[in-house]
């Protein structure tokens, strides 16, 4: 699966669509950035409510390819700029972390039920 496959998912709004060719193979759901750093797999999608610059910094260090911000949290401009600079896709959704995680899991495993 590629990052670009995340852009046409119902309910997920694409905020910045950089490096759409990057591969994704896993997801990680956490609002603790130290936990993300310790445990997020390479080539993963991060599901979080932490809508700020440092989330991008952490994501870049551990090869997270896309970030999905839940609960429609406002995304500051400097976060968008950082995501573009680092080649990380930014998405936003009204849904909570649990529902978003389930949806991503289905996309990754091809399970449509």
């Amino acid at each position: 699966m590629k990052v670009s496959d995340l852009t046409n998912v119902d309910g997920w709004q694409c905020i910045s669509a950089d490096a759409a060719d990057n591969p994704i193979s896993a997801g990680y759901t956490s609002d603790l950035l130290s936990d993300v750093m310790a445990n997020a797999p390479d080539d993963s999608v991060l599901i979080t409510i932490q809508a700020h610059l440092n989330t991008v910094a952490v994501a870049a260090l551990v090869e997270v390819r896309a970030i999905i911000i839940c609960h429609s949290r406002r995304i500051p401009d400097d976060m968008i700029a950082a995501a573009q600079r680092e080649g990380i896709m930014l998405l936003r959704t009204e849904a909570n972390q649990f529902d978003t995680t389930v949806k991503l899991h289905r996309l990754l495993t091809g399970d449509c039920n």
């Binding site: 130290s34 310790a38 445990n39 390479d42 700020h52 440092n54 870049a60 260090l61 551990v62």
Partner: protein, 313 residues
């Protein structure tokens, strides 16, 4: 005091650029030796001798009252009033610099006034440092060295993959979340260029980032330095305080002293030091309450026996 050998009208562009880019606070000595108004000139004389300095600000609770120079001491010895309190003989019309001024401004002061040093105040008029011509020349030399390296890297010839040891130091400020991660990013870039296995890069970058965040969140400010050679990266995080009361407790996963604001940003989960310890091949921490904390970590850049060992998993 001789003028600095930096002429803002006739220096190469790279120097001019640095003079405007660097702020006084990047260059000054932040640990200022001060005396109080009631201290005797004799005490100042000994302090100057022991610390090899030629001027001391008179300050209490970071408020600046005056400055005593070695000339004042010589005069006091001559006139026999060396046991008088400082405030009777200090200069009260002190020329000061502000921490956010560009360095070019500081250099013009060394030309304009014949003083060897200028106290530095923040915008609340608190004494935060002192700028001597020595601070200026050492910082400029270091910065020029960095610029020189950059130019060297851009040269078209094939640079060897490991070009010997590289080191750099980053200043880290309290609550400056915006710049946290600069060191980790720089380290990652270098290691990618040196073809270090990605699992090792991740360990090094995580250790550096946690060190940066620790200083941003818990310290009043500090420095992060790295030294990269062929086999390993060594990280030193040295802060200016306030120090950790119980280091063993701080090393327990989940223990934190962070406030709610920090936690709302996703930090302060009590995982920082344990994360560093887990990714590092060598780890040590030393802390003194009231003076500061020093964290040292080494991450090896080669997989042992050629097999990939990712300690973060």
């Amino acid at each position: 005091m001789k003028a600095l050998p930096v002429n803002p009208d006739q220096s190469p562009l790279v120097v001019l650029d640095l003079l405007f880019k660097l702020k006084i606070k990047d260059v000054m000595t932040a640990e200022v030796i001060t005396v109080q108004r009631t201290d005797s000139l004799r005490k100042v004389q000994h302090l100057m001798r022991d610390s090899r300095i030629s001027g001391v600000p008179v300050s209490e609770n970071r408020r600046l009252f005056g400055i005593i120079s070695i000339d004042d001491i010589i005069r006091a010895l001559d006139a026999g009033h060396i046991n008088d309190p400082v405030d009777r003989h200090m200069s009260v019309n002190v020329v000061v610099l502000e921490e956010d001024m560009p360095l070019s401004f500081g250099i013009s002061y060394f030309d304009k006034f014949k003083f060897g040093r200028f106290p530095v105040l923040n915008h609340n008029n608190q004494l935060v440092g002192i700028l001597s011509s020595r601070d200026v020349s050492t910082t400029l030399l270091l910065e020029l060295l960095k610029e020189y390296r950059k130019i060297e890297e851009q040269l078209p010839h094939h640079a060897p993959q490991s070009a010997g040891p590289i080191s750099q130091r980053f200043r880290i400020n309290r609550y400056d979340f915006e710049n946290a991660g600069k060191a980790a990013q720089a380290i990652k870039k270098i290691l990618i260029k040196r073809n270090v296995p990605s699992a090792r890069i991740r360990c090094a970058a995580v250790a550096a980032y946690e060190m940066e965040i620790n200083q941003v969140v818990h310290s009043i400010g500090g420095n992060l330095s790295y030294v990269i050679d062929d086999d390993k990266i060594e990280l030193f995080a040295i802060d200016d305080g306030p120090g950790i009361a119980n280091v063993d407790q701080a090393l327990e996963e989940g223990y934190t002293t962070a406030n709610e604001w920090i936690k709302s940003l996703g930090f302060g989960a009590g995982m920082g030091l344990t994360n560093i310890r887990r990714v590092a091949d060598e780890f040590s921490i030393r802390s003194t309450l009231g003076s500061g904390t020093r964290v040292h970590a080494v991450v090896r850049l080669k997989d042992s026996n050629g097999s990939a060992t990712d300690k973060t998993r």
